[in-house]
């Protein structure tokens, strides 16, 4: 609010991630496993998509993943600009890797 008195700004600490890591004891084993699996799945999906556009069932078969898991990962990659949506093929959409 406009009438709020502004206190002098304290100096901001730098590279404070080490403080947080120490305070919270780092990643849990469950999170480590989750993150490792995510990296494995993404690598599989990227490799498969290098071969050209694929639907979710095709990708899932190529990577030996479940279709709903494949969809979630592909949608995450789409959200962050790694994958683009293409044309429809037999009731499914085709997905491609974005260049760069």
């Amino acid at each position: 609010m406009s009438e709020t008195p502004q206190a002098a700004k304290p100096a901001k600490p730098k590279n404070t991630i080490a403080v947080l890591r120490e305070r919270h004891g780092g990643m849990t084993q469950d999170l480590k496993d989750y993150f490792k699996d995510q990296q494995r799945v993404r690598k599989l999906l990227r490799e498969a998509l290098k071969g050209g556009a694929m639907t979710i069932p095709q990708l899932a078969a190529a990577c030996q993943l479940e279709t709903h898991v494949t969809l979630w990962h592909v949608m995450a990659m789409r959200r962050y600009g790694e994958v683009a949506e293409g044309a429809e093929q037999n009731g499914y959409l085709l997905y491609t890797l974005k260049e760069g």
Binding site: M1, K14, I17, L20, F35, T67, H68, M75, G91
Partner: protein, 453 residues
């Protein structure tokens, strides 16, 4: 909480559409309002909806200007990511204990550029998309979030520090901890909104088992252009659905799950979603299984007729059980409500359960107001004072008092604001004289108008 003051005229708990309305109505009358929201952004459930019934207006197009108005109002102090821990009567007003959770960024320095989110290496299910989409461990809550500031989800942080290194304004501060504050307020408005009944509530519908049985709020996000898929797909395999079913009363009017009441909005949101689906997917078969259609509001009956005319099929029948086929299609066992009373099996690609509304928050130990048997706040004088609670000076607005649609929630929030203003006048809490406050607001409005012209 460097900006928070010691004294306000009113505390509004909850930054959804009802809380924002109550805060704005009080602010416009010249009262100083503290608006507290537990999530990192205001906007509540409405900002995540696709469109509103019966007008089919874009929901966020209505909600977002309200959010901006509340955030920038000179009389409203917005406090997000903050929880109210205790409210006690103190003199003419109330002492309120708050805890602000750490975002791990300086809100003054974060410019909402999203660079940290792009640098973060881990994806986790996004609450805003009901788990159907992903976000990073550090993230801006959503595109229309206010404030447009990043927040770190510590539970999923991999402690790599990439966000901190990438941030162009060096706004990260991982040394932050939860902050406590106590403020004094003259009146309290509770506008804590709703949850929907749990997906697991009706085991026979497989809501927590079958991937293609969706919640209505999940469907809202899937229908939204900025939703998890960008278009309507079914969650099990990304198929464009050809046949979708809505199961009405899947979490209301049902004593077995403790929700004996009608939730008042399910018929209309289901009809709205069903109609929109026929617009989004050419040739889609969409069927609504219902016991009664309750289209009671202004223009609602006409909307129901329009939906049927435009191709939504309505079948009077009670869905007894849902099972899953090998290809994840869903088979509905329907007890038809007609002269024959026969049982039929119908197959669909996707099913949406029209779940009911339950309270978004329970007061337990925080404030000494009573809840009714249904869990919503008790309004003992509902006929003539719908915002009055069992505690003098504490008012309720929106769905916190009982299920209702958006227009009714806004109207009741306005009524709560008016009742709170009357209470403040009665207790002479105001920090300035009424005349001075009104002149002040008029002066600001004139200044704003001159800026526009």
């Amino acid at each position: 909480m460097a900006k928070i003051r010691e004294r306000y005229d009113a505390l509004v708990i909850g930054g959804g559409i009802a809380g924002m309305q109550a805060a704005l109505d009080l602010g416009e009358q010249g009262y100083d309002v503290l608006l507290v929201e537990k999530d990192p952004s205001i906007g509540g459930i409405m900002v995540g909806l696709n469109k509103v019934f019966p007008t089919l207006d874009c929901s966020s197009c209505i909600c977002t200007p309200r959010m901006a108005e509340a955030a920038h109002h000179p009389r409203i102090q917005l406090q997000t990511y903050t929880e109210v821990k205790r409210v006690d009567r103190q003199g003419a007003g109330f002492a309120v204990r708050l805890v602000k959770k750490p975002r791990y960024i300086s809100e003054d320095d974060c410019v909402g550029c999203n660079v940290c989110e792009l640098a973060c290496p881990i994806d986790v299910p996004h609450e805003f998309d009901y788990g159907l989409g992903a976000r990073r461990a550090v993230y801006i809550p959503h595109g229309n979030a206010i404030p447009q500031k990043a927040v770190l989800d510590l539970e999923h942080c991999v402690f790599c520090g990439k966000c901190e290194k990438a941030c162009p304004t060096h706004c990260f501060d991982f040394t932050q901890e939860a902050e406590e504050a106590t403020v004094n307020v003259g009146t309290v408005i509770i506008a804590t909104g709703l949850h929907i009944t749990p997906m697991a509530a009706k085991a026979e519908y497989g809501g927590d088992t079958f991937l293609n049985v969706m919640s209505p709020l999940g469907m809202e996000r899937v229908q939204s252009s900025n939703g998890p898929y960008g278009r309507v797909l079914r969650p099990s395999d990304g198929k464009i659905p050809r046949s979708i079913a809505y199961v009405q009363c899947a979490g209301s009017r049902d004593r077995s799950i403790g929700v004996p009441y009608c939730s008042r909005v399910c018929c209309m949101y289901a009809l709205k979603q069903a109609l929109l689906l026929t617009h989004y997917i050419h040739g889609l078969d969409v069927t609504l299984y219902y016991m009664d259609i309750r289209a009671f509001g202004k223009g609602y009956e006409q909307f129901y007729r329009r939906a049927v005319k435009e191709g939504v099929k309505v079948v009077k029948g009670k869905v007894a059980k849902i099972t899953e086929a090998d290809n994840r299609d869903l088979i509905l066992r329907v007890e038809m409500i007609d002269e024959h009373g026969r049982v039929e099996e119908r197959r669909h690609d996707l099913v949406v359960l029209s779940q009911g509304l339950v309270p978004g928050w329970h007061v337990g130990g925080v404030i000494d107001v009573q809840e009714g048997d249904d869990g919503f706040l008790l309004t003992p004088d509902a006929k003539v004072g719908p915002s009055l609670t069992t505690m003098e000076g504490v008012f309720v607005g929106g769905v916190a008092a009982g299920p209702k649609d958006i227009p009714d929630a806004i109207v009741e929030a306005g009524e709560a604001a008016m009742a709170a203003a009357n209470y403040l006048e009665h207790t002479r809490w105001r920090t300035m004289t009424g005349a001075a406050l009104r002149v002040d607001v008029r002066h600001q409005e004139a200044a704003r108008a001159s800026e526009v012209h």
